[in-house]
């Protein structure tokens, strides 16, 4: 086990290293003009050189990359160069994580609670009205442009229930709509998957035995099917939760939630390299940790799986 974990960690580190380096180099391919935004025209060539020098962009790429890793090894992620000039990257990112996390966790919990319930009922009443209604919901969520319905929810939701439009951490009722909006997709996703897995599970032999034991259908569902159906989902769950924690671009910007959503896109566009690097580092780690946790969670739920085999099902 320990060896496996060690191996997985090393492997993950290698992946992380490649991702971060590739991103680093890709960012260096972007034109230097991008670092000046609209101010470019008002600057003299000397000023531009000075600014580039300050941002460390005039060194050859390998020196830059080397410097980056040297600093990283000291735990120094650098300071933002454009997004918030001179502010340490960690200082910018750290306060945002909790928001995205609270919303992510809350929305995930909500989505899990509602999604799983819906999915379970859909599986139990397969082909009946509830199943059809649930399917319709799933289809709609997947088919409608989210940018449209999320805005509608915000506008009408707030006026209908007289909730604040903008998020304010001191007003508990301003948490409601964004969290719900954030969970809509999850509800559909979880419902869809749990339903599918439950239907699969219901066809398995051990259900026959459980029935032959005399277990009423409800108990079979609760004690056997649901839990077993949850296992294949368990693998993707951490990654899903972690990715909601990474924030939703659109919902966070709609409700002014100071989370991580859209931050990456923002800093990439502004070519704030240290920020990009730090975020990529975080997101990739989160992604890779998510994979790993998924495997661990699977192993927790499924006693057959021991975290040993070289190639886990990724």
């Amino acid at each position: 086990m320990a060896r496996y974990v060690l191996k997985r960690c090393l492997q993950s580190l290698a992946t992380l290293f490649i991702v971060v380096s590739v991103v680093f180099l890709l960012m260096r391919l972007l034109p230097l003009e991008g670092y000046f935004g609209d101010g470019y025209d008002k600057l003299s060539p000397e000023q531009r050189t000075a600014a580039l020098q300050r941002m460390g962009l005039l060194d050859p790429w390998y020196v830059q990359l080397g410097n980056f890793y040297v600093r990283l090894s000291r735990g120094d992620l650098g300071t933002s160069i454009i997004y918030r000039r001179d502010v340490p990257v960690t200082e910018i990112i750290a306060p945002r994580i909790p928001y995205s996390m609270y919303f992510g966790v809350f929305a995930t919990l909500l989505a899990l609670a509602l999604g799983l319930t819906l999915g379970v009922f859909m599986a139990r009443r397969k082909g009946q009205a509830l199943d059809k209604a649930g399917t319709a919901y799933i289809v709609l969520i997947n088919a409608m442009p989210s940018a449209v319905y999320l805005l509608f929810i915000q506008l009408y939701g707030t006026s209908l229930f007289s909730l604040p439009i903008l998020f304010d951490k001191y007003r508990p009722n301003s948490w409601i709509l964004p969290a719900i909006s954030l969970s809509l997709g999850g509800i559909a996703g979880y419902a869809m998957w749990i339903r599918r897995y439950m239907v699969d599970e219901l066809n398995k032999d051990y259900i026959k035995l459980a029935k032959a034991k005399g277990l009423p259908e409800k108990l079979i569902m609760v004690r056997h099917v649901m839990r077993n159906a949850f296992v294949p989902m368990a693998q993707y769950l951490p990654a899903a939760i972690l990715s909601t924690i990474a924030g939703s671009i659109y919902i966070e910007s709609l409700y002014s939630i100071p989370g991580m959503g859209g931050l990456l896109v923002d800093v990439i566009q502004r070519q704030d390299n240290p920020m990009v690097q730090a975020l990529v580092l975080i997101f990739s780690s989160v992604g890779i940790v998510g994979l790993f946790l998924g495997d661990v969670l699977m192993a927790v739920f499924d006693p057959r799986i021991k975290l040993v085999k070289g190639e886990g099902a990724r």
Partner: protein
């Protein structure tokens, strides 16, 4: 045991079971009648698809969703199980009065729950035991079915058990509520011979201990010889011959029984082809005219193709449904191999060689 005195515990009369499939109707059981006596072991044999499982599943109301009992009755404890419409009614029967052991021990257990928990569930459900009591009872029954170290192993998961042990667990689950009838649906087909022998021993000893009735389903006549008091031979949704084990083995009357027995490799002669039944069973989608076995039966009479044979009583405990038993039919001797078996029944020496294809020296 003397069957004459034994009480009927379950009685299936003219049972017809149908399935809806691809818009068509498939008649899996075509008027099967069967009596099961208290305390006996009844074996149902027949090739794959003959309806053994469907028949017995109907006893505990576990037909697949697309299936239904079309007509006939199943009388158990004075009630007609075939008339049950509500799942709740079945809950009083299933597991408590009639239990079932399935073929494949590898997939019959929930892989994610400990073995002990899966057994304890039954105690909690049918006996109302508390969690501790149920767990203790589970450990006990595990020991009874011969799991060594049951005190520890009940906490393990199915995948940590070998096939034979898993089948023991499944039997333990079936036994947990001391049912009146235990249906074993091919409980050893997936196991290898040595383990099969152990499981057969186990069922027998449990039966001696608890005194339940066993319905044993298999297509292996060798196994049947080991366990059965009575044997019912089934073909295409019908029981075609039924008698005590000895009657069926030593004096079989239905050509289908002959064929089944003849194809046992134990009876084969090395270097010569083993007897085999040609062809495939009939499609159950179509109305079958006459004897279903007729097209594959070398002894078929013309009548077999037009008229269903009735039961002909051979002895009080033995009957067969074949026109060959009609007094008007030409006399047919069973194949030679069958004769050998009969001899075997008479003297030990005659079957010294049984137990594998004998060398054709």
């Amino acid at each position: 045991m003397s069957l004459a005195k034994a009480e009927k515990i379950l009685e299936a009369n003219d049972l017809v079971i149908k399935f809806g499939l691809r818009g068509q109707t498939l008649t899996a059981i075509r008027g099967a009648s069967l009596d099961v006596f208290e305390g006996e072991t009844l074996a149902i044999v027949g090739e794959s698809g003959s309806g053994k499982s469907v028949l017995t599943k109907s006893f505990i109301g576990m037909l697949d969703r697309n299936g239904w009992v079309d007509s006939g009755s199943i009388i158990f404890e004075g009630r007609d199980l075939a008339a049950f419409r509500d799942e709740k009614q079945w809950l009083a029967i299933r597991g408590k009065k009639i239990s079932m052991v399935f073929q494949d021990p590898m997939t019959s257990l929930n892989p994610l729950k400990t073995v002990g928990a899966q057994i304890a569930e039954v105690y909690a459900l049918h006996r109302g035991y508390g969690p501790k009591e149920a767990a203790a009872a589970a450990v006990e029954i595990l020991g009874r079915v011969g799991i060594p170290d049951a005190g520890k192993r009940h906490k393990q998961y199915p995948h940590e058990f070998s096939g034979g042990m898993r089948q023991r667990v499944v039997i333990a689950i079936a036994m947990a509520c001391a049912p009146r009838i235990l249906i074993c649906d091919e409980p050893t087909t997936a196991l290898d011979v040595t383990i099969q022998a152990q499981i057969l021993d186990l069922i027998r000893s449990l039966q001696a201990e608890f005194g339940f009735t066993t319905i044993y389903i298999t297509h292996d006549l060798g196994v049947v010889a080991n366990v059965a008091d009575r044997v019912a031979v089934m073909y295409a949704g019908k029981i075609v011959e039924c008698g005590t084990a000895e009657e069926v083995y030593y004096d079989p009357r239905h050509p289908y029984t002959w064929a089944l027995l003849s194809s046992l490799p134990q009876l084969g002669i090395k270097g010569k082809p083993l007897f085999s039944i040609k062809g495939t069973p009939p499609s159950l989608f179509k109305e079958i005219e006459g004897d279903a076995f007729a097209p594959r039966n070398p002894y078929a009479l013309k009548l077999d193709f037009v008229r269903e044979p009735p039961r002909f009583q051979v002895s009080p405990t033995h009957w067969a449904a074949t026109w060959l038993l009609d007094p008007r039919a030409p006399k047919v001797e069973p194949p030679e191999i069958i004769g050998q078996l009969r001899d075997c029944g008479k003297s030990e020496a005659a079957c010294a060689d049984l137990g594998g294809g004998r060398a054709g020296r």
